[in-house]
């Protein structure tokens, strides 16, 4: 019999022609266990085959398989799985298999995506969290990672008020200082680079992906889950799975329009307050004060409009599933000039060939993003420009600060931001395409063995062009022969991945529902980038903008070619005994071209054990909870994202044309040997995780609690070199250690279950605590490294790396208080605590003081439904995060008024403290930025049926409904580095939309 099957299959392969196989049908219905309501969208799996189906609106399904005896399983997010065994299929006949699913929270059931495969949630031994479509954040979401902000315990998705602004995700705290802290992003199995050209030409390296195309986002948090990604897994892994076909043809349109307005900005003095301040503190400047009342910030802001349209075609033909997603987004920012547009197309196609033994899956997507940037300086200029000065002069020109006697522009004064807004251009364009073809072949002679081969590409063309005409003030102030500039950057990148892996799944009946699941594979990745840049100054004409190069005075072209290769082998074994003792072991061996010959290869192992206590016969009836699982895991990961491809190589760098040395009458271009550490290698993170998952009230509630510790060794620091021994004063070396410890709590539950049309309330609550500590800088005498440059002074640093403290703790003077009030006058010794008692206030008196990372991150999501209405909301809070208010420290003192170049506006903080000179390093400016924010609130109504239109839904969303904080600056989530210096203004967005299906 076996030989016949093999024979037949191989004949099929060789003949490449379909055989008319005899098949039978399995059909049935999937209903809720409680009230027998149909469950659409449930996944039906025939174990041991690739056959499967998705239930229709009425909960029914049917699928064809070869005759035989099968185990069939039904899965649906939000429900516990149900299995029917011993389904006997005979040729030409239909066998019925019905399922009743019990509602459950996602953590305990369903299919979970893991690296190089999937697993049933009950078998997962690591810390993995999945967020599905229904749980995603609502409203205008430009960047995919924003979908899960506030949804997963232990995951911080940094805020960025710019539409589609930069990506920064931290999984269980930052593990690194000088290498990347960003998790690895994997889209449909393919690792994606989110840095490089995309971040130069666009706002965010994930923006090419339309959030509407995403089905689930899975975060792998502990080393048991991430170790399969070896030297890129140290910061966690975010796996994005895109939507695939539907069980029946459908066309779906979703359209939204939105409006945003500013709700937070830096508080500066009003015109009247400013007049009073100048009169009192800078009487000599009163004559040049001006008589206008200008709100400069309001002048550069706009009510931002946006629209988004998504059209999906999805369906199934025979075994082929397809989905075509088309999307268009156009969103303005609340600062004039900010805009992002994206046109995207995504095609997912899968089919079963060769007697259903070969599953072919392709993913192809492409998008074009155009980002318009508000010129960098504009926000700072609007903050600083005196409110008593007008936007326009009486002759209709843009007002600029001028020397009253000579009439010349004043060099160090801010420029009129409105002029810059009008004339400066800055645009990034990204054309990015990623695709993969994947074949999974179930080998015919051994049940359960399949081989998958996959090839994929990620091709990126990223341009950034900017232009400054010669007529604006910033150009007129400098060397007139160099006025007018343009810059063009043209980056192209190609990342290819070839990987192949074999999976063997086998039931071990002798072990009482035991099973084994092995995966072994290899992968090869190549990355090539070419970065061309060109800039010119002193343009002969402004007519061409950035689209042409007229005669110029100075130009600086640049070319850089980069290459990076990664070769890997990996393996994973899952062993399940008695369906309750679960063992997982993984190992990955990675070789990276970034490191020297002796340091290229590394091995990253992990091991985990889970015990499903609730399946233990002795405990089953004693436990007050269901699905109780204990997990423990250990593993190692690397971080090879060190920011350069050639740091371990000795090389010489050629100097530029303006860094020449004069030898006699010749100007000679220099070459410089570069300092390097040939022993450079990746940072290594060792983590352990202990977790417990359980359900309450028959899985109506599910709870996950995890505790973890992650220690990162061989941390890269630019450490001082002993004088004379190296070709720089510091060299990037693997020397330090940092530790993150914390715990996480997640609760999913159906608080109120009113049945299908009654009032139902689903809620998610998550909370996590992380404490970060720099353990060592690797040198006994090296007590600190300064970080965190600020505006104010030159080279002023506000943060520090100091052993025993969180990474990037603020490093400040302790401000003295007298009689309960801050001392704001007198010499430094009167204002600041002389910590070391030497009667001098100098850099030795700086002390670490709080850090930007939140101690607690708390998130809550509620979904309500009642009859045809639905509503959802997301609340989020950070506790213990601190922000340095750089606007206040830089412009919060009266000496700004007497500055000999034009007086500029003051931060309103000056009214509170009254400083007469800058106090950049005072701890007063390090503020507690804990906050509570309602990220979004959505209300929707679904019509029963309107003619041909299937269940149309109308909905409205408010984003950033409110933010409660004591932080005085623009936004408590200002910047992941904790320095608030003219961050993009916070806004509130109103979205209205409609979904129509056919």
């Amino acid at each position: 019999m076996l030989r016949t099957v093999i024979h037949g299959a191989v004949a099929t392969m060789l003949a490449s022609a379909p055989l008319l196989a005899q098949t039978g049908t399995i059909a049935g219905r999937v209903l809720t266990a409680d009230d027998a309501q149909p469950i659409p969208g449930a996944q039906i799996l025939v174990l041991g085959t690739n056959a499967g189906a998705v239930t229709r609106e009425d909960g029914r399904y049917s699928l064809t398989v070869r005759p035989g005896r099968y185990t069939v399983r039904a899965l649906r997010i939000g429900f516990g799985a149900d299995t029917v065994r011993n389904v006997v299929v005979t040729a030409g006949a239909t066998t019925t298999a019905d399922f009743r699913l019990r509602p459950a929270a996602t953590a305990l059931s369903g299919i979970v995506v893991v690296g190089y495969g999937t697993q049933e949630a009950k078998d997962v031994t690591g810390s993995v969290a999945t967020v599905g479509t229904e749980e995603f954040n609502t409203g205008r979401v430009v960047s995919p990672e924003a979908l899960i902000r506030g949804k997963v315990a232990g995951v911080q998705v940094a805020d960025n008020n710019e539409p589609g602004g930069g990506i920064a995700v931290r999984v269980r705290g930052g593990t690194s200082v000088n290498a990347s802290n960003e998790p690895l992003y994997v889209i449909d199995g393919v690792p994606i680079d989110v840095g490089g050209g995309s971040t130069v030409s666009g706002r965010n390296g994930l923006n090419f992906l339309n959030p509407n195309d995403i089905e689930t986002v899975t975060v792998l948090k502990d080393a048991s889950a991430t170790a399969i990604y070896g030297n890129r897994g140290a910061n966690g892994v975010v796996i994005i799975t895109t939507k695939s076909g539907a069980s029946q043809p459908q066309v779906m349109y979703t359209g939204t329009v939105s409006g945003s307005r500013v709700v937070g900005g830096p508080e500066m003095l009003t015109a009247d307050q400013y007049r009073a301040a100048v009169t009192q503190y800078a009487a000599t400047n009163v004559p040049s004060l001006g008589s206008a009342n200008t709100d400069w910030l309001a002048a550069i802001e706009q009510n931002a409009g946006g629209q988004e349209h998504n059209l999906d075609f999805a369906g199934k033909r025979d075994a082929a599933l397809y989905r075509l997603g088309l999307g268009y987004l156009d969103q303005e920012g609340v600062l004039i000039g900010t805009r992002t547009r994206r046109a995207s197309a995504s095609l997912n196609y899968s089919d079963l060939l060769l007697n259903d033994r070969l599953a072919l899956r392709t993913h192809l997507r492409g998008s074009r993003s155009v980002d318009d940037f508000t010129p960098n300086a504009v926000l700072g200029e609007a903050v600083a420009f005196a409110p008593t000065q007008p936007i326009y002069t009486s002759t209709g020109e843009y007002y600029q600060y001028r020397d009253p006697t000579t009439g010349n522009l004043i060099g160090l004064a801010p420029n009129n931001p409105l002029e810059d807004l009008k004339y400066l251009q800055d645009r990034g364009t990204i054309l990015r395409s990623i695709g993969s073809v994947e074949g999974e072949y179930r080998l015919p002679w051994l049940q359960g063995l399949s081989v998958t081969a996959r090839g994929s590409f990620d091709s990126n063309r990223a341009d950034r062009n900017s232009f400054t005409p010669s007529t604006v003030a910033s150009q007129l102030k400098g060397d007139p022969t160099l006025a007018g500039s343009l810059s063009r950057a043209n980056h192209s990148e190609l990342h290819t991945v070839a990987d192949a892996f074999a999976t063997y799944r086998h039931d071990l009946p002798m072990l009482d529902r035991g099973s084994v699941d092995l995966t072994v594979g290899v992968s090869a990745e190549n990355f090539n980038g070419s970065y061309n840049g060109y800039s010119a100054r002193g343009l002969s004409t402004n007519l061409l903008g950035y689209n042409g190069v007229p005669t110029f005075k100075e130009a600086s072209p640049g070319v850089s070619v980069q290459e990076h290769r990664l070769r890997s082998q990996f393996a994973r074994g899952n062993l399940s005994l008695k369906d309750r003792y679960l063992f997982t072991a993984t190992v990955r061996r990675d070789g990276s071209s970034r490191f020297g010959p002796d340091n290229q290869w590394g091995v990253f192992p992990s091991a985990a054990f889970a015990w499903r206590m609730s399946e233990e016969p002795m405990l089953k009836d004693l436990l007050p909870v269901s699905d109780l699982k204990l997990r423990v895991s250990w593993g190692k990961n690397g971080n090879e994202s060190i920011g350069c491809n050639y740091c371990a190589y000795g090389s010489y760098e050629v100097g530029g044309p303006q860094a020449q040395a004069q030898l006699g009458s010749d100007f000679v271009t220099t070459i410089r040997p570069i300092a390097f550490d040939a022993n450079l290698h990746w940072e290594t993170t060792t983590s352990t995780d202990v977790g417990i998952d359980f359900g309450l009230l028959r899985n109506r509630f599910s709870v996950s609690i995890d505790g973890y510790t992650k220690t990162t060794d061989d941390l890269l620091f630019a450490v001082p070199t002993a004088a004379g021994t190296a070709l720089s004063n510091s060299v990037l070396t693997n020397i330090g250690s940092v530790r993150n410890r914390g715990f996480e709590f997640m609760l999913d539950g159906k608080l109120i279950d009113g049945g299908r049309r009654g009032f139902t309330w689903l809620a998610n609550f998550n909370a996590s605590h992380n404490s970060n500590e720099l353990l060592t800088l690797g040198r006994p005498g090296l007590t600190s490294i300064a970080t965190g440059g600020i505006a104010g002074g030159v080279g002023t640093n506000i943060q520090v790396l100091q052993p025993g403290q969180p990474v990037n703790s603020f490093f400040v003077y302790r401000h003295r208080e007298a009689n309960g009030k801050v001392v704001v006058t007198g010499p430094d010794t009167a204002m600041y605590v002389d910590v070391n008692g030497d009667k001098i206030i100098n850099t030795s008196d700086l002390r670490p003081f709080h850090s930007p990372a939140p101690k607690w991150i708390i998130g809550h999501t509620s979904n309500f439904s009642w009859r045809n209405f639905d509503a959802s909301t997301t609340l989020r809070a950070y506790l213990g995060n601190y922000v340095y208010n750089n606007v206040a420290s830089n412009l919060g003192n009266y000496s700004v008024l007497t500055s000999p170049y034009a007086p500029v506006n003051l931060s309103a903080s000056v009214l509170q403290y009254g400083f007469t000179r800058p106090q950049y390093l005072s701890d007063l400016y390090v503020e507690d930025a804990s906050f509570l924010r309602m990220d979004n609130l959505t209300v929707g109504y679904t019509f029963d049926r309107l003619g041909q239109v299937r269940n149309p839904r109308v909905f409205g969303t408010i984003q950033n409904v409110f933010t409660k904080t004591s932080y005085s600056g623009v936004d408590p989530t200002a910047n992941i580095n904790g320095i608030d210096n003219n961050v993009y203004p916070r806004s509130r967005t109103f979205v209205g939309g409609v979904t129509i299906g056919f």
């Binding site: 081989v451 070769r567 070459i671 004088a723 004379g724």
Partner: protein, 525 residues
């Protein structure tokens, strides 16, 4: 049989699928947009380009002027420039100059209240040893063995021998600065095994090393830094460095070497050059044509750009009520001012008829510095300017063409006079002649023999070499820097107060002590 073969075929196919990605295991990806140590000297112009980097290290801060790709890190790139750092450490703690900015660590220089973590002293130390490391690498790469291994042509070998002498001069020059500022520093030459920690040397040993290196390099150098050697090492530059070395020998080693100082100064004077008839020309955009400047660090508006060097000296000097265009620049930085003690050294103060006081600017300013942070407190000094002798601005209004005059003939004259007064021989007539040559040029009254005293020399150096990066060394040599000598804001108070003797040396940076724990900190820090 058929079954067996197809099974093997299928298995082979599967194995192939797994193996294909693994076979290309070449992980060596050499840099393509950088030159590697493997091929650098295949191009023979690399020797000159590398030598140029040694000189560029004194003028620019990295490979992309005015900023970008910095040589050293841990400080703002502009702050890290060699001349800027050296000038600030020699001038800001003295009775000549004060700076109004509040950048971390900078006010500590004004008041002699620095700590071992001071970013400016740290950066200067790093800059000095960056030059040392570069020179050592150059000497290693150009050893006889290396040159012959590369089959270098004889003519090029001869040329490179000259480069090696220049590299040794530059290394000695930086060690002379280290000796002056930090005292007890490790000596690292090209033969040192850089995998080991350098050993701290006594100040006298550093002195001996500098002396030996300068003397040995001298033979391989041209007589003067002129023509195709403009901006480059010369015997005259060696003589001037030796003259300073010997003049300060008593402080640095305990042994008086005034006779050697006098001899070195005489040799420098004999080497050529003459006093510039125009004092302003010495500090202007075309000062490369001045016959008086013996060794300078060239800057250029188009080719040699930095935020330190002359860019700093000229921009930072311009502030309130000053015409930036008169200094040949596009705007002032409102930073540097004169301390009153420097103004009062000229007979008649700011309104002195001494031509060396002509650079003082008083409009809208107070002489007294009531508040260091107020940029109109204290007179300004428009001594360095980016305009040519005929009043035209330099080639760029941001980055001056003006070269930094490190050694000029007037300095040699004053060293001769001082060495004579310190018993170093020579003749009183010559010494008096030199001093009066300067005073006559400056429209100041010539002095008589009785007035030629050591205190007079200190004051005259203050008048002649004001803001030329000499003052701290001079004050220490005369015992007037720390425990004696009072001027505004010294020690941190308006009227000034004495400080402890340890301030005569800067601290070894805390960073260096962590990297090389075998080093001992200078006393008092």
């Amino acid at each position: 049989m058929r079954i067996m073969s197809t099974r093997w075929l299928a298995m082979g196919g599967a194995a192939l699928l797994l193996a294909v990605p693994a076979c290309n295991n070449d992980l060596t990806v050499a840099p393509q947009s950088n030159i590697t140590s493997g091929n650098i000297f295949s191009d023979t112009t690399s020797y000159r380009a590398f030598l140029a980097k040694l000189y560029a290290g004194l003028a620019v801060t990295g490979q992309s002027g005015p900023d970008g790709k910095p040589d050293i890190s841990g400080i703002d790139e502009g702050f890290s420039q060699y001349v800027r750092g050296y000038w600030q450490l020699q001038e800001l703690p003295t009775d000549e100059a004060i700076i109004g900015w509040g950048d971390t660590g900078l006010p500590e220089l004004n008041t002699q209240t620095w700590s071992a973590a001071n970013p400016f002293t740290t950066a200067m130390y790093a800059r000095i040893f960056y030059q040392v490391a570069l020179a050592n690498e150059f000497l290693r790469q150009t050893s006889d063995a290396q040159l012959s291994a590369r089959g270098t042509a004889a003519a090029l070998v001869t040329e490179v021998q000259g480069y090696r002498a220049e590299a040794r001069f530059l290394r000695a020059l930086s060690y002379y600065h280290a000796l002056d500022l930090f005292g007890n520093v490790p000596i690292v030459d090209e033969n040192f095994d850089i995998s080991k920690l350098p050993v701290q040397a006594a100040r006298s040993d550093v002195f001996a090393f500098v002396e030996k290196e300068l003397k040995e390099a001298r033979a391989g150098l041209p007589a003067r830094s002129t023509g195709s050697y403009y901006g480059r090492a010369s015997q005259q530059a060696v003589d001037m460095t030796l003259a300073h070395l010997y003049l300060n020998a008593k402080v640095w080693t305990g042994t008086d070497r005034s006779a050697d100082a006098l001899a070195a100064a005489s040799s420098a004077i004999a080497g050529g050059g003459s006093l510039d008839t125009s004092i302003p020309h010495l500090f202007q955009a075309d000062n490369n044509t001045s016959p008086e400047i013996l060794f300078s660090i060239p800057f250029d508006g188009n080719h040699t750009r930095t935020w330190g060097g002359m860019t700093y000296l000229i921009h930072a000097s311009v502030g309130d009520n000053m015409d930036a265009a008169a200094s040949g620049i596009d705007g002032g930085w409102y930073g540097l001012r004169l301390r009153p003690s420097a103004v009062e050294r000229y007979a008649g103060g700011a309104s002195s008829t001494d031509l060396r006081a002509q650079f003082i600017r008083t409009a809208g300013r107070t002489e007294d510095i009531a508040n260091v942070g107020s940029s109109n407190n204290g007179y300004a000094l428009a001594k360095f300017r980016n305009v040519t002798a005929d009043g035209k601005p330099g080639s760029n209004l941001t980055f001056p063409d003006t070269d930094y005059p490190m050694y000029r003939l007037a300095d040699a004259y004053l060293i001769y006079a001082e060495a004579f007064l310190r018993g170093g021989g020579g003749s009183q007539g010559t010494a008096l002649g030199y001093v009066n040559a300067l005073r006559t040029r400056a429209n100041a009254t010539p002095i008589g023999a009785a007035e030629l005293t050591l205190p007079f020399i200190l004051d005259e150096r203050g008048r002649e070499l004001l803001w030329e990066g000499m003052r701290r060394q001079d004050l220490i040599r005369f015992g007037q820097f720390s425990t004696a000598g009072i001027w505004q804001w010294k020690g941190g108070t308006h009227d000034g107060e004495v400080t402890s003797a340890n301030h005569d040396l800067y601290p070894i940076p805390a960073n260096e002590l962590s990297a090389n724990p075998t080093l001992k900190q200078n006393p008092g820090y």
